[in-house]
Amino acid sequence: KRLAARPGSAFSTTETLTRATDATRYNNYYEFGTDKADPARNSSRFRPQPWSVTVGGKAAVTGTFDLEDILKGHALEERIYRLRCVEAWSMVIPWIGIPLAAVLKRFEPAADARYVAFTTVARPAEMPGLGYPVLDWPYREGLRIDEAMHPLTLLAVGLYGHELPAQNGAPLRLVVPWKYGYKSIKSIVRIDFTEEQPPTSWNQSAPDEYGFYSNVNPAVSHPRWSQATERRIAGGGFSLTGNRLQTLPFNGYAEQVASLYAGMDLVRNH
């Protein structure tokens, strides 16, 4: 289904877009399988409608809300963001959504709510990858509340002018463009406001490889590969120069977000 959205966000990049066919057929969504082609292939049974999100923890307004009610009253915008995968490839994707801050504010987080935790849906009958203990299901992610409230952080419902397909995290996902892709959790069913740093799936699985913050940082290598550069998947096809680019601190969003981490050791807090 097509989605109307206000284009021309000041945050949008003018870089060449990744082809829509590539962005929707080359995905990491292990609940549908670990091969990049699996999510598009194995998600036909997934039903993103009806959808509700349970909000809990340190907030005045909690409970279970229909997706329509969560989105009601918010104008959809298009944001063209770079997406940098921790595997050292990247895409440029036109997302459609609303700033996460606008949604979170309506739940009136308490003063001691310092983090926001997110949980992905886990329906074994619709998501064949859940049969394999690749991660400790359901998938969990989290942000510090100032990161969650940052104007760049988007709650996305669509891409390329259409509703999100299952493989891209239908019907509701996070997009945090200055962090590695796995922070941008898909198919959200729970949002919890917490005082303590919430456990996150990849960090639990391998804390030395995946930190809580996971900010894109060319200076901090993954233990098994460098993060200094990335391969851009822009749809240009095969090129002898390999489409490799220098990776930028905070994925090129340093101007907007570096101040969130002032005084922090970004190697220790990777």
Binding site: S205, A206, Y210, S226, T229, G235, S239
Partner: protein
């Protein structure tokens, strides 16, 4: 005297041509731009996979001969081994030139500091002396040393299998079944050699302790 056709000699050009088919398919896919969303990664994956496949086929010759008694297979072994080295070299060249081309300082960092790359690089490095001494004249010149030198292929195979496994490991998880299957095949090919190795080491020990090894004349 009847002139007998040497079937192996006749079959060699066919095997040679067949071994070039994967390269041809890759060239075709580059030309037609059908390597998928991340063509460089696909090219790296496919060339690496063919290197490993040829290495495993090469390692399968000896157990195959034991099992079937088909000794002619031995005469294809050098060619298959050289194709393993060829595809491994293409794999490395794609990684260094096409993928990392221009980012030369990163090349050294990756090879020196990233264990999965180091292991793959070592697997290729160990194949160089094998390829260099694969000619008949080198075999003659090296004599018994040649046999021992070419046992490096077992190390190279183990490193290649490890390289593949390590590459798909995310966190604690091996996120693909393919590398596990290939590592399993490699392990089976090694296990198939165990009886021979055990027998030979027994013979050696027996010879060393001065007893007559079974089936062998006592060396005076």
């Amino acid at each position: 005297m009847a002139h007998r056709i040497d079937r192996v000699a006749a079959g060699k050009p066919l095997v040679f041509a067949a071994a070039l088919v994967p390269l041809g398919i890759l060239a075709w896919r580059i030309h037609g731009n059908t390597l998928g969303p991340d063509p460089v990664a696909q090219l790296e994956h496919d060339t690496g996979l063919w290197a490993l496949r040829f290495l495993l086929v090469t390692l399968a010759i000896t157990p195959l001969r034991r099992l079937t008694g088909w000794s002619a297979a031995l005469r294809f072994r050098r060619m298959l081994g050289l194709f393993a080295f060829f595809y491994a070299s293409v794999h490395l060249a794609v990684y260094l030139v096409v993928d990392l081309g221009g980012f030369w300082s990163q090349v050294l960092t990756e090879i020196a500091k990233k264990p999965f790359v180091t292991v793959g690089f070592l697997a290729w490095l160990l194949m160089i002396p094998l390829a260099a001494t694969s000619t008949r004249s080198m075999m003659r010149r090296l004599g018994g040393l040649w046999q021992r030198l070419h046992r490096l292929v077992y190390v190279s195979g183990a490193l290649a299998a490890l390289h593949f496994l390590w590459q798909v490991k995310y966190g604690k998880t091996i996120a693909a079944i393919e590398p596990v299957v290939y590592a399993g095949i490699f392990a089976m090919l090694m296990v198939a050699r165990l009886p021979d190795w055990i027998r030979r080491s027994r013979q050696r020990r027996a010879a060393a302790s001065g007893r007559v090894a079974p089936g062998r004349p006592l060396v005076q």
